[in-house]
Symmetry: C2
Subunit: 222 residues, 2 copies
């Protein structure tokens, strides 16, 4: 009778190694799918999407490649799920500050702060900013871009709002949105957790640098 790997006590919960979800038998498909995309996100962020092979991903999960294909149709479905989670997280940030946090300018500042924090610290948020979607099939890519566009639209709406209530100088919302998102996304690329600057420090500095030029004269006088 062969040895049997026994179920680990720490197999469930957030702190566990992801591959514990695969240790023995029956746990729900959802748990295993989550374990896969979580591990995949880390690998994608470390080596890039193209250079992360399905075999490596499987190895990290202590399973074999075909098992992956039992849970996902193909490689790009896995990346798509990473995007979906990350974009959902960013959207929830945006909705959270919606109610009433001051004028448009103040809310833009808050959003910059939150967006930067997500992109620097959230494992799936980082995927949205960092991972190039050009490797995807055109159909899947269109789906991703649609989701991204929603974020961009909210961003522009915030800028337009600030201009309408007089708290921001007049400007091109599209370009403002691109400039801010670009600076932050790029930070997602060079930022390494081992560096000397914390995500909070970076987020605060970026907020000041990127929104400092947008305050209206009236808003500045106050």
């Amino acid at each position: 009778m062969p040895l049997k790997i026994r179920k680990s006590n720490a197999a469930m919960g957030h702190g566990a190694e992801p591959w514990n979800a695969f240790l023995v038998g029956h746990r729900s498909m959802d748990l295993k799918r989550e374990a896969v995309i979580k591990t995949a996100a880390h690998l994608f962020l470390e080596h890039g999407y193209q250079k992360t092979s399905m075999s490596l991903l499987a190895a990290r999960l202590k399973i074999t490649k075909p098992a992956l294909y039992y849970y996902f149709r193909n490689k790009e479905e896995i990346l798509m799920e990473c995007y979906r989670s990350g974009i959902a997280e960013i959207e929830s940030c945006l909705n959270r500050l919606s109610p009433d946090a001051g004028n448009g300018f103040a809310r833009l500042q808050l959003y910059v702060l939150e967006y930067a924090t997500v992109v620097l610290t959230h494992e799936f948020g980082r995927c949205v900013a960092m991972i190039d979607d050009s490797a995807l099939s055109s159909k899947t890519r269109r789906g991703v871009r649609d989701l991204k566009r929603k974020i961009d639209a909210s961003f522009r709406a915030l800028v337009a709002e600030g201009m309408a209530d007089g708290s921001m100088a007049i400007c091109n919302p599209k370009l403002v949105s691109f400039a801010i998102a670009g600076a932050i996304n790029w930070a997602g690329i060079w930022y390494k957790p081992s560096g000397e600057l914390s995500p909070e420090q970076i987020a605060e500095a970026f907020m000041e640098i990127l929104t400092g030029g947008l305050r209206s004269a009236a808003n500045r006088a106050s």
Copy 2:
């Protein structure tokens, strides 16, 4: 007697199709190397580095793959040359405005304008901003990063200068440099020449957005 492709009248000069450099015989190695990296840059920008195969590059030049290896050791040497040209162009911008174009803040503004223009319009400048160097061997990548670091250092020096002469508010030069370069590099990614905004429009808007928050109070009063 087989047909012989005759030398085109337009085979030389800047406006010609790059592959004309290969049409017949003897032209200098340098011309052909230039034709290769120029064509490669366009393909890298269009499809990405990883997805541009040496076979495709050769096909675009109307030669065969092994001929490519007569002029370059390997694929990454070609990308390296693209980087080198782009970085040289950016450095020349920086040197050009060095002498005396006003205080630190004014010169930073000029530099932002020029950097954005190069990254949006110059074929090799775009490579520097857009093409991920993580596909390179670690040795080559170190070379590229050294070159990039020089640009970053100049950038930070400009910021430090502005702080020293009182034209800019106090800030972290490293983060300012990253924020500005990031926003512009990211523009290199989304910008398509077919879009409705011209590089000049983008460059000017970015200059205002990205430097607006850096002006010192004293500088603002004037």
